[in-house]
């Protein structure tokens, strides 16, 4: 599935959630703008801070403190190499050197089941929260050098704990949060991990 299609799918699911579920008292939908700081091997590959991310979370309130649900996300990391960078590789027993400007993109798409615990009581204006997402993460890495393109897509196990604060603001809540996203290697890939800094609107 191409990234553009995934984006359309995420947005479609958001619209479907609102259409079919409505914003009912026992359920919420949180939409968030996400930035991310790559860590470890991901930082080595694409070290730049990412300002491109979006998240969508559906929560069903089991009681006043506990919610279960699903969450989707999409974070894009990128790194642009020097104008005349040297890259060496091998193919069919031949040694290749490639000189050029390299564009390296990593798309991380978490798809997880989620449990959220709200601290305090509903009477409090501001409620800290902790949540844990467990599921999978689709990672697509693309490297472009000139017209060379190499794309690799893998599905990883994924884990995503999150801390945040629920701040009521009229009919919605603002939810600033920090997430740690972790995806261990799949096949020969690296370990992907990054910290997300998110600002959500909860409906």
């Amino acid at each position: 599935m191409k990234i553009r299609n995934i984006k359309i799918t995420v947005l479609s699911i958001a619209a479907a959630m609102m259409t079919t579920l409505g914003v009912q008292a026992q359920s919420h939908v949180e939409l968030s703008y996400q930035t991310a700081l790559p860590l470890g091997e991901l930082s080595d590959a694409v070290g730049n801070f990412s300002g491109r991310g979006v998240g969508l979370e559906y929560q069903y309130l089991v009681d006043d403190e506990l919610a279960i649900g699903l969450k989707l996300g999409w974070n894009v990391f990128q790194d642009v190499g020097p104008d005349n960078g040297l890259y060496e590789t091998e193919s069919n027993g031949a040694a290749l050197t490639i000189r050029g400007k390299r564009y390296h993109y990593v798309n991380a798409i978490p798809i997880m089941a989620n449990v959220t615990y709200y601290f305090g009581t509903d009477d409090l204006d501001i409620r800290p929260l902790f949540s844990l997402g467990v599921g999978g993460m689709v990672i697509e890495e693309r490297v472009d050098i000139g017209l060379f393109t190499s794309t690799e897509r893998n599905f990883h196990f994924g884990l995503s704990p999150k801390i945040g604060v629920d701040i009521p603001a009229g009919s919605v809540s603002l939810v600033p949060s920090v997430t740690y996203n972790f995806a261990p290697p799949s096949k020969d890939s690296i370990t992907y991990q990054y910290i997300g800094f998110n600002l959500g609107i909860k409906f």
Partner: protein, 202 residues
């Protein structure tokens, strides 16, 4: 309200990362070295003209052609290769071709043995193969205007029928005769290809 939020978040997140803007940001120089020893190869013969493949008509001027051939000669000789002055009489260890691809090609970076391209009709010296065709695996699509420099061993035929030859080295400079600053770009590209291939030194 949700629709507004969705729109805002989408706009914030939708600016896709930087991509190439100028044609020279797509310039690449590729060198390919098959797992073949170059020991014992010392002299070369190179046709005195650039070969064009395709019918786009974006040909180089004669001045540019001569500059390119001169650059290749200079780089080979700086690595200690000797240009064979009388190939008809003496032959040469290797053949070097400079080619400009004048149409879009799919899968043109090959290594392995080169196959004869029947009907090509390149005016070779007696005893030399015509321009070889391609017969290996495709990994890449070339842009129009790509310059190739190839080196083959004309004495080693893959199948004994003189229709394919041992491929020793290739350099490809993507799309360099397209766009602006053509002379600077092909000069830098050719010099870079040789700089990235120090094993060519004799």
């Amino acid at each position: 309200m949700f629709g507004v939020g969705l729109t805002v978040v989408t706009l914030l997140a939708s600016r896709y990362p930087d991509s190439p803007v100028f044609v020279d940001e797509l310039d690449i120089v590729v060198t390919i070295r098959p797992d073949v020893s170059l020991k014992g190869y010392n002299d070369y013969f190179m046709p005195d003209t650039v070969i064009y493949i395709g019918d786009r008509g974006d040909e180089l001027s004669l001045i540019d052609e001569r500059r390119i051939l001169s650059l290749v000669n200079d780089n080979l000789q700086s690595y200690g290769w000797q240009k064979e002055a009388d190939p008809e009489e003496n032959g040469s260890d290797v053949l070097v071709f400079v080619t400009v691809l004048n149409n879009s090609q799919s899968g043109v970076i090959w290594w392995d043995w080169w196959g004869w391209w029947p009907g090509w009709g390149y005016p070779c010296y007696p005893g030399y193969p015509g321009y070889p065709g391609w017969g290996g695996g495709a990994v890449y699509s070339y842009e129009v205007g790509t310059i190739l420099i190839e080196m083959i061993d004309p004495a080693q035929s893959a199948d004994g029928d003189n229709e394919s030859y041992l491929f020793l080295w290739e350099a490809a400079m993507n799309g360099l005769i397209q766009g602006s600053n053509v002379e600077t770009r092909y000069t830098d590209g050719i010099n870079q290809a040789f700089d990235d291939s120090p094993y060519l030194a004799r």
